[in-house]
């Protein structure tokens, strides 16, 4: 075991995957000489050369499209999208090509592409540098979607993602990049839990708190704070958003009967909506209260000085915990307004 940051763990994972398999190539903007803007690819160019660590033109669709061609040719591209907000120019290639080629060719073509995305907010960044686009990818069949929350998972799951013959969108929370944790660099992939298994990050008995990636740390803090008030929260780090490990999730919900989901992405049609729907389908008769979502607001990501009001914090999570426990909370008394007001003012006088 070695203590290291997530940045170093991902770097180590890349290095190991490249050493193990000469077909693994790393590509993206500034990944070579600079070592990436977050230094994730630091040292790889020196070690593996420019044929395997490719500084690409500044064109995300071009990067993703050529990765498709490399994969067709038997390579295993690991693509770095420099920041979450810059994946959109590549969206067409990811959704129409990367995700579908295997299906279109009835399995004849594999797309072992790993798409690494430095992700989400909380670091005071400029516009387009704090997006949470995970739901777009979860909605796209043919992709696996991973969101890591600690150095050990980052290291293991990156290697698993690269080894996978499916395309994997691999989200790295920028906010946790420099948090340290123990990493077992010698872990044998054959023995590691498969990519996609959820992790019970903290056991509890009253409420199941489902979360992933950047919010895991906040969720754990909330669980500690709740304990002081006599509430026992079980925190589940989903790790995989597609597919979701519902076995772990439902086992917890059946135990606690209460569910709160938290993520930084906006609420509407977000991953939380999917989780709540699926949990309700599977555990309806076990639920003691309507599941609650604590998410970013349904707004474009705000300027840095206001992001603290957007990203769910410990208090907003505890507020939702109070709701599922039917304790006084910020929504108490608002139900009346909700039913009265929703259904009045609308665009063009229509009822919305």
């Amino acid at each position: 075991m070695t203590e290291m940051t997530m940045v170093k763990a991902i770097n180590a994972g890349l290095r190991r995957a490249m050493a193990d398999d000469p077909k693994v190539v790393v590509m993206g903007e500034d990944v070579g000489r600079l070592g990436g803007v977050f230094r994730i690819t630091d040292g790889l160019l020196d070690e593996f050369g420019a044929a395997r660590v490719i500084d690409t033109p500044l064109a995300e669709s071009g990067i993703m499209g050529t990765a498709v061609g490399l994969a067709l040719r038997g390579y295993r591209p690991v693509v770095e999208i420099q920041f979450d907000g810059f994946v959109y120019p590549a969206f067409d290639q990811i959704v129409c090509q990367v995700a579908k080629l295997h299906y279109r060719t009835r399995g004849n073509v594999k797309m072992p592409i790993t798409i690494r995305i430095p992700w989400a907010g909380g670091v005071g960044a400029a516009e387009h540098h704090s997006e949470s686009p995970e739901a777009y990818f979860v909605h796209t069949s043919g992709l696996r979607v991973i969101a890591v929350s600690n150095p050990q998972d980052a290291y293991v799951m990156l290697r698993q993602a690269i080894a996978s013959d499916d395309p994997v969108v691999y989200f790295e929370p920028k906010r946790l990049y420099h948090q340290k944790g123990e990493v077992d660099l010698d872990v044998d992939l054959a023995d590691a839990p498969p990519m996609g298994l959820a992790r019970v990050a903290r056991e509890g008995s009253d409420v199941t708190l489902l979360t992933y990636g950047s919010q895991v740390t906040t969720a754990l803090d909330a669980a500690i704070a709740a304990e002081d008030e006599g509430v026992s929260i079980e925190v589940i780090d989903l790790r995989s958003l597609s597919p979701v490990d519902y076995r772990t999730v439902t086992a917890s919900v059946r135990k606690t009967g209460r569910v709160v989901v938290t993520h930084e992405a906006a609420k509407e049609a977000g991953v939380g909506a999917e989780l709540v729907a699926s949990v309700t389908e599977r555990c309806f008769h076990y639920l003691e209260a309507p599941p609650q979502r604590v998410t970013g607001h349904d707004i474009p990501y705000p300027p840095a000085k206001l992001e603290k009001y957007h990203i769910p914090d410990l208090d907003r999570i505890l507020d939702a915990v109070d709701r599922v426990l039917d304790k006084p909370n910020s929504l108490t008394g608002l139900e009346e307004w909700r039913t009265a007001e929703t259904g009045r003012a609308g665009v063009g006088g229509g009822v919305l």
């Binding site: 600079l34 500084d55 500044l58 387009h128 607001h297 707004i299 206001l306 009001y309 507020d319 665009v347």
Partner: protein, 374 residues
């Protein structure tokens, strides 16, 4: 107007450019560009000098403010003042500019106020100025996106039968984006009155221009049916002349025109960047010798049009502007928490109204408990 493009290794060639002012500040003739600045006298030159000094001052102030934690990030423009100021000065107030995040000089010339340079980088707003106030679009961070906006705007000008032009600014890296190439196709197909200004500052963050282009960037435009010119971007006169040519071309209904300004970014890509990882001190020093401001000063001095009094007045203007930029930063105030929900829609949106109500009640809970504890 197409400057000679011959061998394919010219993408990095920095001297195969049209210029009117040598790096030593000597005024020279250029058969194509010269006539566009025949009217430029000492007064106009001194104005360009002053603009560039003020822009550099905004830049140094911005860097200092970032180092002091007052703004989150800064994208320096030192070394690129000539192309920014020279081209922007050729625009009419009713033309419309579409800059990237680095075009401090363009925004300055267009009339941006001190706060406009810092508030967005401070993270208070995504955009401070109202684009229609200074006919300049909000600085763009998504590489290349603004080029398409400029073409669309130009198509609107066309439909209105107006004689304005749109101008768009972008870097060498941006030329790799699909958007920029699509913008050129649209502009050419529709003969849109738009001017493309590529500031080739040699790097896209760490990647040298050769990662984006093996052939001079200006050489691409003719392939789209767009005439182009490759100029010395550290020469404010050449920048002004080329832009006057390009604008005249667009304004007179002949369609788009393209300028590649060969220049250099002296500082880091942004204050988060470490340029020592990808370029040598020598290279930076060599480019410092081509400083766009020193070049004009040398010319003005040689012609006896630069004296202590002028230097002092420019310096005091710069001090004053620097102080205003600093003050705008230090006196900035953040919006109320509920403000995160503002301006998402123009018309009421019941879903968001509900979230506003919920978040408002949630925030009120803190106020109530604060009051109770008083």
């Amino acid at each position: 107007m197409a400057h000679t493009l011959t061998t394919p290794d010219l993408a990095v060639g920095v001297d195969d450019v049209a210029r009117l002012l040598t790096p030593d500040g000597e005024r020279i003739a250029d058969p194509d560009l010269g006539r566009w600045v025949a009217d430029v006298d000492h007064e106009l030159l001194r104005g360009l000098y002053r603009d560039m000094v003020l822009v550099r001052r905004i830049d140094t102030e911005g860097i200092a403010l970032q180092r002091q934690g007052q703004v989150g990030l800064w994208a320096p423009c030192q070394g690129q003042e000539a192309v920014q100021v020279g081209t922007a000065r050729a625009l009419r107030a009713d033309d419309f500019a579409f800059p990237s995040y680095r075009e401090i000089g363009v925004n300055f010339v267009r009339g941006a106020k001190p706060a406009d340079f810092v508030i967005a980088w401070r993270g208070e707003e995504h955009s401070t100025f109202n684009p229609y106030d200074i006919n300049t679009a909000t600085p763009q961070i998504i590489i290349g996106a603004q080029t398409l906006h400029a073409v669309g705007y130009a198509m609107g000008i066309q439909r209105d039968g107006a004689d304005q032009v749109a101008a768009t600014y972008f870097g060498d890296g941006a030329t790799s984006q699909g958007d920029v190439n699509e913008a050129m196709i649209f502009a050419s197909s529709f003969r849109a009155p738009v001017v493309f200004v590529c500031s080739n500052n040699q790097y896209a963050i760490s990647e040298p221009v050769t990662v984006q282009a093996k052939y001079p960037i200006a050489g691409r435009a003719p392939g789209f049916g767009i005439p182009s010119v490759r100029i010395d971007g550290n020469d404010v006169l050449a920048s002004l002349a080329a832009m006057r040519w390009a604008i005249d071309h667009a304004r007179s209904g002949k369609g788009p025109a393209y300028i590649e300004a060969v220049t250099y970014r002296i500082g880091p890509h942004t204050t988060s960047d470490d340029p020592t990882r990808y370029r040598s001190k020598d290279e930076v020093e060599r480019w410092k010798q081509r400083d766009p401001i020193a070049r004009v000063e040398a010319l003005l001095r040689a012609e006896g049009a630069f004296d202590d009094e002028f230097a002092a007045s420019v310096a005091s203007d710069a001090d004053e502007l620097g102080a205003k930029v600093r003050e705008a930063t230090l006196t900035a105030t953040s919006r109320e928490p509920i403000g995160v929900l503002d301006h998402v829609y123009e018309e009421p949106h019941t879903g968001l109204q509900e979230q506003r109500r919920e978040f408002g009640a949630y925030l009120a809970g803190f106020e109530a408990s604060e009051e109770a504890s008083r």
